[in-house]
Point group: C2
Chain length 431, copies 2
């Protein structure tokens, strides 16, 4: 496997998994190339705060090149990886150099939200995975109040003042918990014809409880906390249709123009080029060392890898990606040093989810707690883990501002709706 030159490691994706793999290869005698379709590492756990206009896009991102600026064995390629040729050991990308040969491949391309046979809902119920998604949701969220303010028909006005979030996992819960604070305080003085505090927020979950990965008593607490904030939580609510102006739950029709999809993910379609059987959401089943069957030179990590430990799947969260990236890098180093590979072991550091201001739920296995202490812990940990000192300072200021003034700093609509842009030149999505 080793050529005369240093082995080439190609990493697809600069999320938590890819970034941690690249970093862990810092001192290993390999040449690393990390491919991403954006130029930044995204701190995804705070993406919902961009979607709700609390943080600005640049607060939760750091340029990948900047993060790797001192790692001389790493280079960065801004491109779309379109195919993996496992026979020739080459990754195809959509621009120069078109093909990148590898000795080792770390596939960390992540997942996208998925509609599982209802792809026609996507235009009406966007999901929240990338920064562009968050900016689009922010646009719809802010625009809804602008439309409500000028709607003459009261039924239309109510539809603009109804926000439906589909999916009761952490993303759905965190989004739903954030909105009442904004509609009741930040936006209220801004409008003349409507009372933004009267906005109806619905959180729909198909299963029996919110946060299914948390212990049951925390699900119950989360539900109570959300209800306290005025969010209508519905469990066992299976969505049967989504249109431009409604969400259907069986025979019940909820009129709304603002729907957010937080109900499901599917692995990057790149997994299909591995010619290995995938699970039902497109994830790659991996060996104990995270490599792909019959391809010890390919590692699949992060939320596109299906890793089972103690009979349970390892969740697709940041800490899973980070640990898998380090593990894959370590096994590459061990290969080169002639040592046997070691199996990956996931260490669950615990789970946290916030519910608006001052409230959160925390699950550390044997210890669970909720309320203000959990929220303080959440704030502390997120500031600690934010990539790069500068973002950290900036986020602290934004949060302090939002906390003490109830205002939101990033309430930005750059253009009117696309169809209304008239004479404007076409523009690319921004940040």
């Amino acid at each position: 496997m080793r050529s005369l030159a240093r082995p080439r490691v190609v990493i697809i994706g600069a999320g938590f998994g890819g970034r941690s793999a690249a970093r862990a290869l810092r001192t290993v005698p390999v040449d690393v190339t990390i491919i991403d379709r954006t130029n930044h590492h995204l701190f995804q756990p705070l993406l919902y705060q961009v979607a709700t206009a609390t943080l600005a896009p640049s607060d939760i991102t750091a340029p990948i090149r900047w993060l790797l600026r001192r790692q001389r064995n790493a280079s960065v390629l801004l491109a779309d990886a379109t195919h993996i040729d496992v026979e020739r050991r080459v990754v195809r990308v959509d621009r120069e150099p078109y093909e990148l040969p590898y000795d080792y491949l770390v596939l960390a391309a992540g997942s996208r939200h998925a509609y599982f046979g209802h792809e026609d809902w996507e235009p009406f119920a966007p999901g929240l995975k990338s920064l562009a998604d968050a900016v689009e949701i922010r646009r719809r969220f802010l625009l809804a109040f602008e439309r409500a303010e000028w709607a003459r028909d009261p039924i239309e006005r109510d539809a603009w003042q109804t926000i439906v979030i589909i999916g009761g996992g952490p993303t759905g819960v965190e989004l739903a918990g954030m909105i009442p604070d904004i509609t009741r305080r930040a936006l209220r003085p801004d409008f003349r014809a409507i009372d933004s505090a009267r906005t109806r927020v619905l959180l729909l979950e198909g299963g029996p409880r919110l946060l299914p990965n948390f212990p049951e008593q925390l699900s119950a607490r989360t539900r109570a906390d959300l209800a306290d904030l005025g969010v209508e939580v519905r469990t066992g609510a299976v969505v049967t249709n989504v249109t431009a102006d409604s969400v259907h739950i069986g025979a019940e029709i909820i009129r709304t123009h603002t729907v957010i999809w937080a109900a499901g993910n599917a692995a990057s379609p790149l997994t299909r080029s591995l010619a290995t059987p995938l699970d039902d959401v497109g994830r790659v089943p991996v060996q104990p060392d995270l490599s792909v069957a019959a391809h010890p030179e390919i590692f699949a990590i992060g939320d596109l890898a299906a890793v089972i430990q103690d009979g349970k799947p390892v969740p697709g969260v940041a800490q899973g990606g980070i640990q898998m990236g380090t593990s894959a890098a370590k096994n590459i180093a061990r290969d080169l040093a002639g040592k046997p590979r070691v199996a990956f072991h996931y260490f669950d550091k615990g789970n946290l989810a916030t519910i608006g201001r001052n409230r959160a739920v925390a699950d550390f296995g044997s210890i669970t707690f909720a309320g203000f202490p959990a929220w303080i812990l959440w704030v502390f940990l997120h500031i600690l883990y934010l990539a790069g000192f500068r973002n950290r300072a900036s986020v602290l200021i934004e949060w302090a501002y939002a906390y003490f003034t109830y205002q939101r700093g990033a309430r930005l609509l750059t253009e009117a709706e696309p169809h209304a842009r008239g004479a404007r030149p076409s523009t690319a999505p921004g940040g």
Copy 2:
């Protein structure tokens, strides 16, 4: 002109002019509606800092509603004004309520960059007027280095490392002065195959000198300062063609993929619906009280108004817009109080332009100065005038960070190039 209800004042545009008119009508017994196609007031003098990835879009914007939240006689409409029916006294907009009747109209819709018969250059040489423009220029600027890094052909690589700015007014000078600092310091550790410090920056001006509105000795100083930073300044350089990979100056062809247009503006096309003769760039000649001939109920202000004072045109800058907005509002109040109108008088507070870090030129009529003192004054005044305390604090931090670390905080590319987005859902421009 007065109905039984309170007179309705419609203001088109929430820039410096529109915002100042709305504010000055605070205590006047009228109902004010301000129409804008975005939801924010933009601090345009710092737009070039967004284009060069120094400031984030939300640093230089404040929601219009938020700025007017305590002004109970003002409401805001996010829409595109498409036509003014001067006979029926109605503004048509592209959505509900479709028509807005007015008793007074303040037209403050500003201008767009213009190519004067060369509109086909626009896709290759975007201008810098709106936030969406700035984000697009930032995208091209950052992308150029990504492409240079992976270009195999040295001629192509050089083309990606050549940036041409067309137009030697304040925007062109400020953009050109900012770039060397970024290419020599902030970006340099990020690249492996290229040396970002070797980037060629050209500033092309068709006339005989830079900053034609400033005294001649400051133009000379500006040119010397830019040359000192490594910018190639060419005066008398009339651009004859712009293509996807070149700029032509007569027979000379400069190979480049990154061109910024800072060479000319034309007033909003809305001025055409006034049925009054316009000047050669579409501006409205106004009466001494800023009203439009034969329409005392319509005021034209800001850079779409052609105002001559002491034989010289009043420049289309922020202070002009602000003063005109106040003056128009004052004359509306005087009408309602049965007093005669007063003529507008422009008070020139002076002009400043920065040239990179630590340098600027300042023109206060009898006093002119340059260098570090002018730069400090520039920083102080811009922080002072920035709309809203929060932005001010945030900008101060970004500037301090950029100044002391030579880094740039907002180096954000949200997506790969539009044509390469593949499976991504369509997204609207963001902030």
